[in-house]
Symmetry: C2
DNA sequence: CAGTGGGACTAAATCGAGTTATCTCACCCT
DNA sequence: AGGGTGAGATAACTCGATTTAGTCCCACTG
């Protein structure tokens, strides 16, 4: 494969020293005294030959591979995974680490195979990621390794990284309040109560709590909340049925951008304009948000930052049971009207 | 890290044989004669101890890591990357390979660093992927390795994998023709001629050629093509300006789903219904296609298959300058009306 | 009875680093 | 001269596998 890769022995030979000496110089160990002259010769030889240490050999000896495993349930859906990987990779690469990326598709057998393959390759640590906040724990096989859990809401004896959904909810509501909205604010999607999730999903519960808090502080409250799953069709149905029932919303809090897409469709159909008639604020800041007309003000899921934080947490070696939340910033666009007092 | 991982020596000791014998049995080599009894003992010992070979040690000796590097320019955008990685990973894992995934962000310095890190880890092969069809070649440093290029249109001395855009164009047009459409068929987006790409992009040229061929066969032709970039706003502008100029399209070929989103917006604004007044067919089959109302018939980019094919091509060792095209299947939905003859 | 030929294993080298223990000087001191 | 010291370098071991090159024993042969 790599027919003529330069080895440490080559460098040593060219510098006229032993492999040991070359190793000491190149790994910058100061506890062994090497003459300045020898150091210069070794460094020169390494540079001339373009020497790079064979990481495989080094790993065998040191038990460190400078490789992190990234296991997720799904990497396909939305841009979530892409940005998470991006953030994780940037942070890893900065420190000379690479990422073994894999997904389980939610299949425990696939997961076992995959975890075994990673352990065989001696990954130094693992990011165990879920593509949206939900229950889930890393398998026992990983218990000997540093692991952070991304987006997992189950208890876990190590660092867990989550978007600050509560703060995000507050941010969304504050965007409306700051624009002068007070009454007739409706929520579309709500906590995501379905037959599978009677209490709502984690993100739904916290976002709604944040919204409620801020509205309460402003001396008002949600005028109504349409509870449904979070796909475009449900946003459409939700808004359509609100309007049919005679409600006249001035502002909508859509619990994600796909719901907002559906909401736009329903509003358009009834001749209501965004934001002149109805302001809309949403969550996720997916690509959709900038594609809609008018563009959609959305509270971003900090995908990139989540990935970054996950890897940084692993590499900084700070372990222990901890919850790290990452802020969800507002991306202001054109879907909120400023209401004159 | 892994305090008590079982080693080959442990297995050999328990089976009462030498490491050599254990190695022969476990790697299933028949050229060395091992008694059935010894074989049974070794296999039993390995099973009892849960032995798994240390891939790092094995790699050092054999120069094979069973790890493939996947380098792309961008993994963040759209679901492209996710599905490509998914397909690549499934195929890799089937054969006991894993994927080192990384992206360059188009930055040659990041690319160099990344390629070096991969070479240091002795990846067996590399998938060099571009997230949409465009020029680009793998760096020289990879020349000693098996490499396939995904989505690259530049010449390259090895396998190249591309979606069958020409066939895709034909498929889109045939969907309209088969539904009874004949006249007043317009293209939105066209070849994607912009100041950067005066001749249009690869996908645009081939898709349009496919469309033209099928319409010609059907004894007709495109009534007009609006040339623009391929974002939603351009789709909106394109359709809006066609209508303003007095055109009355019966069907639109949108060169991707985002353009179709814009087209929907413009049609809706003018009170034109999809598909009653205007049929729409599109390309990419992104998530958008199923979110729109009505759902959008689209010719899919075979992301998963592209990833699968890339890895399969690498692992089957079939090299040499070749072009492999992957079919783009039609995903029929509700945006095409059947026109009665 | 020495010689030969396989069957069934194993000792030792190897991959390319990192690490420990040792060795060789030159120099100083008494 | 002999002994201690320490700077500067190296031989040899280690990581956990694979692989080469033998070894040992026994049956069989001429």
């Amino acid at each position: 494969m790599t027919p003529f890769r330069v080895t440490l022995a080559d460098v040593a030979r060219r510098a006229g020293v032993s492999r040991t000496t070359a190793s000491f110089v190149l790994s910058g160990r100061t506890d062994m005294r090497i003459s300045p002259d020898a150091q210069r010769r070794v460094n020169a030889a390494a540079a001339e030959l373009g020497y790079r240490p064979n990481q495989t050999a080094r790993s065998l000896r040191t038990q460190v591979t400078r490789t992190i495993g990234m296991i997720s349930d799904t990497i396909a859906t939305t841009q979530f995974a892409g940005e998470v990987i991006h953030g994780a990779l940037d942070t890893a690469l900065e420190r000379g680490y690479l990422l073994l990326v894999a997904e389980t598709s939610g299949d425990p057998i696939a997961e076992k195979k995959l975890v075994d393959e990673m352990l065989d390759r001696q990954v130094d640590a693992v990011v165990y990621a879920m593509m949206f906040t939900k229950p889930g724990c890393p398998p026992d096989a990983l218990s000997e390794l540093p692991v952070v859990v991304l987006n997992g809401i189950d208890d876990f004896d190590g660092p867990r990284i989550l978007p600050d959904e509560l703060g995000g909810g507050r941010t969304a509501a504050r965007a409306l309040v700051d624009a002068g909205h007070h009454d007739d604010i409706y929520a579309i999607g709500g906590r995501h109560r379905t037959t599978d999730t009677p209490d709502g999903v984690y993100a739904g519960r916290l976002r709604m709590r944040g919204v409620d808090e801020v509205l309460a502080d402003a001396g008002t409250a949600i005028a109504g909340s349409y509870e449904c799953a979070w796909e475009p069709e449900h946003g459409y149905e939700g808004v359509a049925s609100l309007l049919d029932e005679g409600h006249r919303p001035k502002a909508l809090v859509c619990l994600n951008d796909r719901l907002a897409l559906g909401a736009y469709q329903a509003l358009e159909e009834r001749g209501l304009r965004v934001p002149e008639d109805v302001s809309v604020v949403s969550f996720d800041d997916s690509d959709l948000a900038s594609w809609l007309r008018p563009t959609l003000t959305s509270v971003a899921l900090p995908h990139y930052e989540l990935g970054k934080t996950a890897v940084a947490t692993l590499l900084d070696g700070t372990s222990g049971r901890r919850l790290i939340t990452v802020p969800m910033p507002l991306r202001p666009r054109d879907s909120i009207r400023t209401v004159s007092a």
